[in-house]
């Protein structure tokens, strides 16, 4: 009833309807919803591409792609779409936009119009990337077959066609979108917290978005600079990355990974925040070691900027450089360990309920641990000599991204779905979704450790026959997890069809953050009067 009256009160507020509500939107919740829908579209496209990859690799020989370069195009597009058009929009644009203002008691984001443009740059960027897949790329092929890392000179002289220019411009737009979003989040979090909410009282999800926003703000301009150099190398006769004219291909790798390594933390840190909220809620306990958790994220963010060349151990950098990056990379394991143990300590002594969001959070902790410990292995340049550019690396980063990061997104989805839509999801469909993804993704990615140990290189469309056994298993696993994705979509449709209204707080005493004090869904302008935090 309270929800009804609040709705009635705000109904006379000026806000547009129909298509104007979305295209002209300056409302953080509407923009957040658009980001979430966009991420779902991106995730389905990226997921279909991964199905094409696994179908090709299910058996030795070329079955699907008669031109192996098309396979390279698909893997590159899969990576870029999953990173820029699925994980980032879901975590930062989607949940960040929706939940951060609610959690800090702000009526909206600091720069609502900038929020609009940072979303609408993304569909343009996505359109450019999809277009690039059909433009002339490498000799005799269409699309960008240079991987998501687009190493020069494969991305310059190796891909003469305009597909690469389209991809570069696509990444430029996605980068600009993220930078604008980052500025918005930093300003909002620093200036618009409700009275009494000091930085040290902010929910950990807000902390995670703050850290992520700083990573975006510092990393993406470096990518933009590098992409511009790539663009001028390709089109205007410069030679930043061309060794024949005084440039160096390794300059690209240094610049790319100076962006690229913080980028992987950009994709996981908001997940840390979401998992912290979920674990605390369903343990009915405040988070254990709150300050340690917040500053562990800050530490991971800071150290994340000084470890980039651990992606380049085989590139020919000197042994002393490698030794430094081994040391710096291993340091990251310490704050990461603090987070893992603090989550477990939060549950210790708690009163756990295993609702769907909690399942994803628990799954996340275990899978992130596996991805984390293989990261410790890979940090060692000596043994990375054997692993770099093999499937061991593919297994490692899919454990931390495709499993851990995506699990936090689904955890956040089920956690905030009642708040965002006002409807309850189906518990049993949510559980089926979880188990299909958990089992499928483990079957898909765990055998890749073995393939990597045995020496199977990444990014190959066909492989020596000895690798066929584990590849077959991996493909079966990926089909199972794709079935999980279909169950997810079914669950969403089911919830909207069933229309079971969600209370303001469906989770009970454990859910203590401000968004649960508002009706579900919250009114258009959230807070009519600013909440006060004691």
């Amino acid at each position: 009833m309270a929800a009804q009256s609040v709705h009635a009160e705000v109904a006379h507020d000026d806000h547009p309807w129909g298509w104007r509500r979305w295209v002209y939107s300056t409302n953080h919740k509407d923009i957040g919803t658009m980001y979430l829908i966009f991420a779902m579209v991106g995730g389905v496209v990226g997921g279909l591409l991964s199905m094409a990859i696994r179908a090709e690799l299910m058996r030795p020989g070329l079955q699907i792609f008669s031109n192996p370069d098309t396979y390279n195009v698909i893997t590159a597009a899969h990576g870029l779409i999953m990173i820029f058009f699925t994980v980032m929009p879901a975590m930062i644009g989607g949940f960040g936009n929706w939940i951060v203002p609610l959690m800090i008691g702000a009526p909206d984001m600091a720069f609502p119009r900038m929020n609009n443009i940072s979303f609408w740059l993304l569909p343009a960027s996505f359109a450019l990337l999809v277009t690039s897949m059909f433009m002339p790329g490498g000799p005799g092929s269409t699309g960008v077959g240079a991987g998501w890392t687009i190493y020069a000179p494969l991305s310059t002289s190796g891909t003469p066609g305009p597909a690469m220019d389209f991809a570069i411009l696509s990444l430029h737009l996605a980068g600009a979108s993220s930078i604008l979003g980052a500025i918005n989040f930093i300003t909002t979090i620093f200036n618009m917290r409700a009275p009494g909410m000091t930085l040290h009282k902010m929910p950990l999800f807000v902390w995670s978005i703050l850290v992520t926003a700083f990573l975006l703000l510092l990393a993406l301009p470096v990518l933009a600079g590098a992409l511009t150099m790539l663009l001028t190398d390709r089109n205007f006769g410069t030679s930043f990355f061309d060794s024949a004219h005084g440039g160096d291909p390794l300059l690209w790798q240094h610049l790319f990974w100076f962006f690229g390594h913080p980028e992987v933390y950009i994709m996981i840190v908001p997940g840390f925040g979401m998992v912290s909220q979920i674990i605390s809620t369903f343990s009915k306990k405040p988070i254990f070691g709150y300050l340690g958790m917040a500053y562990a994220m800050v530490a991971i963010g800071v150290i994340g900027f000084v470890v980039w060349a651990h992606h380049m151990y085989a590139a020919g950098i000197s042994v002393n450089t490698q030794a430094y990056f081994v040391f710096a990379t291993m340091v990251i394991a310490v704050p990461t360990g603090i987070k893992i143990f603090s989550w477990i300590a939060t549950m210790w002594g708690g009163s756990l309920t295993f609702r769907v969001p909690m399942l994803w959070a628990l799954g996340f902790i275990f899978l992130f641990t596996i991805g984390g410990v293989t990261g410790v292995v890979l940090a060692n340049a000596g043994v990375d000599r054997s692993f770099t550019d093999t499937y061991y690396v593919v297994a490692h980063f899919h454990y931390v991204l495709s499993l851990a990061a995506v699990f936090t997104i689904f955890g956040g989805w089920y956690y905030w779905f009642p708040k965002i839509t006002g409807y309850m999801y189906s518990e049993s469909l949510g559980k089926l979704h979880f188990w299909l993804m958990f089992i499928g993704a483990n079957i898909a990615f765990f055998p890749m450790h073995f393939l990597g140990l045995a020496g199977m290189p990444r990014r190959i469309a066909d492989y020596p026959d000895a690798f066929s056994g584990w590849n077959f298993i991996a493909s079966i696993g990926s089909y199972i997890s794709f079935a999980g994705l279909l169950v997810f979509l079914l669950g969403v449709a089911h919830a909207f069809a069933r229309k079971v209204h969600a209370p303001a707080n469906p989770w009970g005493a454990g859910a203590t953050t401000l968004e649960w004090t508002l009706p579900s869904p919250p009114p258009f302008h959230s807070y009519e009067t600013l909440p006060r935090i004691k």
């Binding site: 000799p139 070691g289 199977m456 066909d462």
Partner: protein, 271 residues
């Protein structure tokens, strides 16, 4: 005897590998259902293998420890068994412990790790220097001290002889003597490629405009295969690396044969 067995295995090739027991480590090439590194053929790869075994034990223990804690909290602290949650949010001793213990574990990993890393870059005096030049999509090998140069190109599936592994076999392998320090200089003419042989524990990018180098000392004769390990375009999957490690006598014969065919002048000058 062991070497003879391995040679036998190589000769019988894929047919035998297909029936080999699961999780068999490959000799010079991967084997079906393999779950470990390929057999080490150089001292460096032996060091990598033992370091990995050491770290792997640590990480498996950590993962099982975390899993055990999770199962314990899920069983012990679920709503039914523990309806009243505690309010504990700090435990200084515990927090110091889970910071300091990981640091100690990392130090114990770092010491052998640095030893391995510096061993890999401890270049011995060369007994033989070869140059591997990458182009899209094959390798060219040079023996600068002997004036031998040849291209090494993948053998198409239709032309494979029985026992030759698909996608790994080349028309002309790099031939090197056993128990000798071989320095490999690696170059590229077009895009970045990577010269890698898993059983030797080496992997080095071939970067246009740079002369990179690595080294190995193969301790067994036989064929050792690798694949280009940096995405290099359309036929990245189809530019294998094959190293044929032979005895000193066989190597001398091979040199004599190829020197004479490579350059008539050199051959007559030597006589």
């Amino acid at each position: 005897m062991a070497i003879l067995n391995r040679m036998l295995m190589y000769v019988s090739g894929a047919a035998m590998l297909a029936t080999a027991s699961p999780a068999l480590a490959g000799e010079g090439q991967p084997s079906p259902w393999q779950m470990t590194f390929q057999n080490a053929a150089t001292p460096i790869m032996e060091q990598i293998t033992s370091f990995h075994r050491f770290v792997n034990i640590i990480i498996v223990c950590i993962a099982l420890f975390v899993l055990g804690l999770m199962i314990y909290v899920m069983v012990r602290f679920n709503e039914k068994r523990n309806p009243q949650p505690s309010r504990t949010t700090h435990n200084t001793v515990l927090e110091i412990a889970w910071t300091v213990i990981p640091v100690l574990i990392l130090v114990s990993i770092a010491i052998p790790s640095f030893r391995l890393l510096f061993a890999q870059y401890d270049f011995p005096k060369a007994d033989l220097t070869v140059t591997a030049t990458a182009s899209q999509w094959y390798w060219t090998y040079d023996y600068p001290d002997y004036g031998i140069t040849f291209a090494s190109i993948i053998v198409q599936d239709a032309d494979l002889k029985p026992g030759q592994p698909r996608l790994l076999t080349v028309d002309h392998e790099l031939v090197v003597p056993v128990n000798k320090n071989v320095i490999v200089q690696v170059k590229a003419v077009d895009v970045i490629h990577d010269w890698a042989v898993p059983s030797f524990g080496i992997k080095i990018d071939a970067v246009p405009g740079r002369l990179q180098r690595t080294w190995f000392r193969a301790e067994r004769t036989g064929m050792f295969y690798g694949q280009c390990s940096e995405l290099c375009g359309r036929n990245h999957a189809f530019m294998p690396i094959a190293v044929h490690v032979v005895s000193d006598e066989e190597f001398a014969d091979w040199l004599a044969k190829h020197k004479s065919s490579a350059s008539l002048d050199d051959a007559t000058a030597e006589k």
